[in-house]
């Protein structure tokens, strides 16, 4: 009886450990919405953008370079805890433009699914999940739930990125172009 009790205890502890492990899936979405995260991203972005400006001066694809720099800095900010961020850092080529697929024909062959979520993995959902997997970097071949998890982190990260870059663009454009900023930083423009 004592033995069976201890087995129950350690089984419970093991479940607790697994619960904690599975809970540490990745950063929570709200982490991207803090002021400190925005500030950190802003300063890193500024450094990266000044480097971009140094190299490739009159490049038409300089917007490409800006985009890639912004994505790299964003990926670094994720601190390696998500697949999308690791994918950005490991491959510079971020396929953004959706390639034209052949028009919606018969559903692709479904892989046989095991487990209790058969109902949730209808071909419609699988198809949409594949599309989502192509939109989130590094998520093309991942499982349905993993794609959802990655997307849940990717979206707030993108939102932060857009917010910081919009603020930066507004600030740079309100001060006009072609002259040092220090002359015009006196006028305060709310964003």
């Amino acid at each position: 009886m004592a033995i069976s009790n201890s087995e129950g205890d350690s089984a419970a502890k093991e479940r607790e450990r697994k619960r904690k492990r599975s809970a540490e899936v990745g950063p929570s979405p709200s982490k991207w919405r803090t002021v400190s995260e925005r500030t950190l991203y802003s300063s890193k972005l500024l450094e990266a953008l000044r480097r971009v400006r140094g190299t490739a001066p009159a490049d038409p694809p300089r917007s490409r370079a800006v985009r890639e720099a912004a994505d790299r800095v964003l990926a670094v900010a994720a601190r390696g805890r998500t697949r999308w961020s690791r994918a950005i850092l490991s491959s510079r080529a971020l396929k953004l433009k959706p390639r034209k697929r052949r028009p919606a024909g018969p559903a692709r062959s479904k892989k046989p699914l095991a487990g209790a979520a058969e109902m949730k993995r209808s071909p419609v959902l699988q198809r949409k999940a594949r599309v989502l997997g192509r939109l989130v970097p590094g998520c093309r071949k991942l499982s349905f739930p993993t794609i959802l998890e990655e997307a849940s982190d990717y979206i707030p990260a993108l939102e932060m990125q857009v917010r910081v870059m919009s603020a930066l663009a507004a600030m740079l454009s309100s001060s006009g172009a072609g002259a040092p900023l220090s002359d015009r930083l006196g006028s305060s423009q709310p964003f």
């Binding site: 917007s63 912004a70 209790a116 959902l125 949409k128 739930p145 959802l148 979206i155 220090s182």
Partner: protein, 92 residues
Amino acid sequence: MSTRRSRSRRSSSSRITDDQIIDLVSKLQALLPESHRRSTERESAAKVLQDTCNYIRSLHQEMDDLSERLAELLATTETTSDQAAIIRSLLM
């Protein structure tokens, strides 16, 4: 002991439950732009996935536009490191 281990191994090989999927989908729904309007009703997973794809695409588009704009602005504006610090503080 070996039974316990093999039992735990089986349960850790993720057999995703319906509830977990529902949970993930509703978390995603909460992130979408119109979620505060529709927060009470739960949308179909297909709709949430579709809206998520559309939203990410629009964010990517915004990023491209902003990158282009910033590229032009950076080309013509000079910033010293002091001004960069000022920009940083103003961006808060």
